[in-house]
Structures are given as structure tokens and as C-alpha cells.
Subunit: 345 residues, 2 copies
DNA sequence: CTGAAAGCGCTTACAG
DNA sequence: CTGAAAGCGCTTACAG
């Protein structure tokens, strides 16, 4: 110790051992809650740990034991609402389980670049959670080498995942189905759809749900418009739709797209919901405060993140029964932006 | 190798050494770009690395060398725009420097809980970036033990930081001053202010800038209203202000607060900007797409995150000259939500 | 230019 | 119940 009270080098189990008058193996037993330690010995060790301010070196633990109590999240984005909320859920659950969480952004969706990022993520040790909502993420999930513990956060898959590589998802099909049904029930002849950027699969679950609702109602199925993740994409898609006077209802892949659509409709003089109804996905924090407030489908991304970590935790700890982590069902939230079409008024 | 082509245990430097017919120290020299290795030897080692798919074990590297090429970000939040953008900037810069980034959320601002989180963050090894925009963050920054490399992302400080514990910040005072001046120049008699949650200092820089602009103009200085980080706080503060017919200009601590204020004014029948002007801070992605589009002050949080990492990198690598990382100056962006007050029309 | 030794701070068998 | 040994995969001096 120097005069400031800080040890130059943190105390190791050997320091604790000599302070407590035991061998360092005994210290190891105490900090690992090994049963076969005499209570008196344990007390002495605990006291030495306290006075020396000992903290077990996580790096040495990882090297010696071969496990690292860490998750790395691989994602193409950290700021869009869905991604950010998933990350929040993962961090929450990881912290509760005393896991460290790392984050690595996939800047490119170029296959070799993605593969390199996956390798670097694996270098951290521990498990992986890959957010596979976009081409980069989908590629990353596919590029994870066998034997590496990984959970994918995916769009609703066409077929269930393999047992050792679990996935989590929200019920995208049901979400889109509900939202479309809501708009049709208001009297709209059809519902136009602006998508978030698609991952690899042409028949995304949301598109399916939307199409199914239209088909069941005998409504025409317009061609979906490709949007982006942010308001700008909704704005430009909205300008296109605004030129078509037959458009009376627009479903948007997320609330930020919807925000852009609202703006585009405003600028082109189409009133919402009087002339056009708009609905989104997510129920992001701002959805309720827009004017008009936004009809949307609430998706529990934070819960999804928690579930992803719980699954990963299960495979890492090889617990027999992985606790089923239900992700809440998408819930339609009707607000001001949806109403009957002009013809019905 | 088994039939699937995956080694059970990853190749170590000893495996590479025996494959290349050299000692493992030589392998260590090659992977560390040590100059004194004969080119022919280097080639053989490189070839063995390639064929065995060797990757240096980061954990062992950290344990043996005592440095870990990692940053842990300590923050009370990961989803609000400013926090998320800072995190994005840190990750970007860290990835470019081949650093791993960890994230740990401060759920409580209770002093012992914060101290515990700081200790756990330190356990990861490497450096720390603490986002000190709120009580939890401010406490965390103060609780970082001496000797641990740390950079604080802070509100504009009253006095400059110590040399070995650098801070970064945006010019909050100038930002608030500019926004307030803009509103006064439009003819408003005064500007009401809704704050984001204050950290410890009563006289936050933004409040100072706002007050200074008012005082210089000889305007009355109303009592600031306490908001939150999200739209809900802006909404309730906005309802209060809407009851006062003398309120014609409102400055909001961030764009999400402004969104809530817009909603409150709409619900109470006060038109923006005809009756009341509203301005925010941040220029978040949605600000330009709101109706009315939002006058705001653009703050470069991503650049701030990059700068924070650059500073940390400097102290970790003990480079003599820490590259000055300029954070761009706040920039007023005038949009539809601000105009002359009703009296002047 | 290259190799043999010691050690980073732990854990995991193996003794007693 | 407790201790002595070997080892996790590297790096850092120290030899030659």
C-alpha cells in the first residue's frame, strides 16, 4: 500500500492466503463457495478478503476455467428503436446474471467483413447474441462457427431453429395481420404497406400477415414499398403514395417510417386520419405523442432481449431445462392516426 | 480435427510452433510484429498460422501482458438519443482501434449500488468511459478508483478536468444561448425553459446560457420547469405552460421533450408556431419530420463518443501527444416550430 | 536471430 | 477439511 491507500497491484488469492494463514487453494475454495471448508477457516479468509479489498481477477478466471461469463451482441445498429430496446433487454438480463456484455457493430454487410467481425466477437470468449434483422445480421448468424454458443434474434422464421442454436422472435405475422385487419375493419378497400429493409427472405412474416389479411377480406394486394429504418425512408415512400388518390390506408414497418409518412402526407395536403389512415409497428416512446398520435402494434423488444439472454445463459450453463421465456404477444394500440376512409364519412 | 473440420481445441502458439518447426517464443514474436525474426522463419510461422487457423487468445494476452484492449461504457441509459449516439461513437472508434467495447447500465443512483457497478466495470480490465449526464453517472465518475484509466462524458464543467482524468463535453452554454437568442430575436418577450433531469450541479451550463441570453436582452427570467428525458415529461410540463397565456416561446432540454410539448400545446388548442414557438436540443433523427418540424440545436454526440474513446486510448497507450479530437460546435437549425409571437403578427 | 525459463492469477484434479 | 502440483495460453526478460 502506498500513502494514498491504494495498492499498486491488486491483491491476489496468494495475498489473501498469506494474510489468512492458509494456502491459496483454500482461498479459491472460499470464493467459489466450495462446501468443504471449515467455518472458522472460511471466516478468516473472508476477513482477509475484506481487509485487502480482494476482487477475483476475471481474466485469470476465464483463462483457467475456460468460461468467461460474458455475452457479445453482434448487431448492425444500436440506435434504432427495436435494436436499442433488444440491447437494453439483453444488458438487463446479463447484469442480473453477473454476465459482462460486449457490443460489436456490423458496419458492412459484405460477407468477408461480416465473417471477420464474427471471428473478433468470438475472440472475446463467452457467448454471442446476433440480431439478424438485416442482411449483415443474417450473414453474421450464419457465419458463427459450430460449437460457439449463440442465440439469434430473428424475424419470424419459416421453420423452427435447431435445438443447440436457439432463436427468439416476435410474432411478426400476427402483428401485421392484426394491424391490417384493423384498417380494413374501418372500411378501407385495401392497405398499402411500406416495409423496413428486408433481410434475406422474400416472404417476410410481416408481409405474409398483411397479405393474408387482405386476401381474406378479398381486398387487392398492392405492391409493398421498400422503406428504410428511419423517418427519411418513410417520408420518400409517403410522397409516392400521396400522389395516388386511391390510397387511404398505409401500414408502416416501424413507427419512425410512420413519422416520415405523416410528414409527407402533411406536406402534400392529405389529412390524417381524415383522408389517409396511418399505422406503424413498435409503439416506440414517441408514438403516443405525435400529432395525430399513432396507431401501432406494440412489440416487446426489451422482453425479446431478455429472452435471448436467458436462452444463451441456458446453453452456456448447460442447464437441463431452459426456462421458457415467453415474449409478450404483439398488441394493437389504436390511436388517432387511423379512422374510416373519406368515402364512408 | 474431427470430420466436421473443426478443431476441438483452438490452435495455440505451441501448436503453431511445432507445425512451423520453431519454438513458441518465435511464434509470439511473429504475431507481435517483432523485428528480429528472419524473413524465412516468419513466412513459415505465418503459413502455419494460416493452415491451423490460429487466433491469439485474447484472455491469455490480457493476463500475461496486463493490458486488455477494451473499454467499458458505464451509463444510466442506452436508449435516449444522446446516450445512444455517444455509445455509437465510442463503439465506432473502439472498433477502428481494435478495442472491444463493454456496456454496463447503472440502474440505480444509490451511492453504494453505483460504487458496486463501478467495481464490476473495473473487473473487466481495460479503460472506462462514464456518461455523467445524470446523478448515477456523476456518482459513478466520482467513484472510479485512482489509477484506473477513465474518461468522463460530462455536461460543460465549471472548471477544467485534471490531466489524467480527461473529460469531454459539448458547449452546452453556447447551445442554449444561441437557441434563446434566436427566439428573442423573433420578438418573444421571454423564453420558458423545460430542463432535462439535472445532474448534481444547480447551475447547469445550459441554464446559464439561457439565462445569460435573457438577461442580456433585458427579458424576465422565468423559473425553469423540470422535465424528464422522454416525451412524457415534455407533455406534462407543456400542459402546465399551456395554462399560462403569456407563454409564447418554450425551449426544451431535448427533442423528445419538445415532442411532448408539441402534443400538449396541440391538445390545449395552442398553435405552433402561431401562438407558441418551441425549440429543442439535439437534432435527433425525427426532429426534421415532425409537424411542425422542430427548430433545435444540433449536438454532435457521435463525435463526442469518438472523442471520448480517443482520449481514453491516449491514456491507455500512454502516447505522448493525445490527438486533439475536436467536437463540432453546436449549430442552430431553424425549422417550422419557431416564429414571431402573436402580438407581432 | 532464436530458444529455455518464469510468471500473469486463477482452477482443476490429485494427494493426504 | 486442506495443501502441493500442473496447467490455461500467452508475454517478458534473460540467455546464447
Amino acid at each position: 500500500m502506498d500513502v494514498t491507500g491504494h495498492t499498486r497491484r491488486p491483491a491476489s488469492i496468494r495475498d489473501v492466503a498469506s494474510a489468512a494463514g492458509v494456502s491459496y487453494q483454500t482461498v479459491s475454495r472460499v470464493i467459489n463457495d466450495h462446501p468443504s471448508v471449515r467455518p472458522a477457516t472460511r471466516e478468516r479468509v473472508l476477513a482477509a478478503i475484506e481487509t485487502l479489498g480482494f476482487r477475483r481477477n476475471a481474466t485469470a478466471l476465464a483463462l483457467a476455467s475456460g468460461r468467461s461469463r460474458g455475452v457479445t451482441v453482434l448487431t448492425a445498429n444500436t440506435t434504432h428503436y427495436g435494436y436499442a430496446a433488444i440491447l437494453q433487454g439483453i444488458e438487463e438480463a446479463a447484469r442480473a446474471a453477473s454476465y459482462a456484455v460486449g457490443i460489436r457493430v456490423l458496419e458492412s454487410d459484405d460477407a468477408p467483413a461480416v465473417a471477420a467481425e464474427v471471428r473478433r466477437a468470438a475472440d472475446a470468449g463467452g457467448g454471442l447474441v446476433v440480431i439478424a434483422y438485416d442482411p449483415a445480421g443474417v450473414r453474421a448468424l450464419a457465419a458463427v462457427p459450430a460449437g460457439l454458443p449463440v442465440v439469434g434474434v430473428v424475424e419470424t422464421p419459416a421453420s423452427p431453429p435447431k435445438g443447440d442454436r436457439p432463436w427468439v422472435w416476435t410474432d411478426d405475422r400476427a402483428a401485421a395481420y392484426e394491424a391490417t385487419r384493423h384498417l380494413l375493419a374501418l372500411g378501407h378497400r385495401t392497405v398499402h404497406y411500406i416495409t423496413i429493409p428486408s433481410s434475406t427472405r422474400r416472404t417476410a412474416a410481416r408481409t405474409e400477415g398483411w397479405r393474408q389479411a387482405l386476401t381474406e377480406a378479398g381486398a387487392a394486394v398492392p405492391r409493398p414499398l421498400q422503406g428504410s429504418w428511419g423517418p427519411a425512408g418513410g417520408y420518400s415512400a409517403g410522397l409516392k403514395l400521396a400522389r395516388d388518390p386511391s390510397v387511404t390506408a398505409v401500414l408502416c414497418g416501424n413507427d419512425d417510417l410512420a413519422l416520415g409518412v405523416l410528414r409527407a402526407l402533411h406536406e402534400t395536403g392529405r389529412r390524417v386520419p381524415d383522408d389517409v389512415s396511418v399505422a406503424g409497428f413498435d409503439d416506440a416512446p414517441h408514438a403516443a405523442y405525435l400529432t395525430p398520435s399513432l396507431t401501432t402494434v406494440r412489440l416487446d423488444f426489451t422482453g425479446l432481449g431478455r429472452a435471448a439472454f436467458a436462452l444463451l445463459h441456458g446453453v452456456l450453463e448447460k442447464s437441463d431445462r431452459i426456462a421458457p421465456h415467453p415474449v409478450s404477444v404483439p398488441e394493437l394500440v389504436v390511436r388517432e392516426s387511423s379512422a374510416a376512409p373519406p368515402a364512408d364519412r
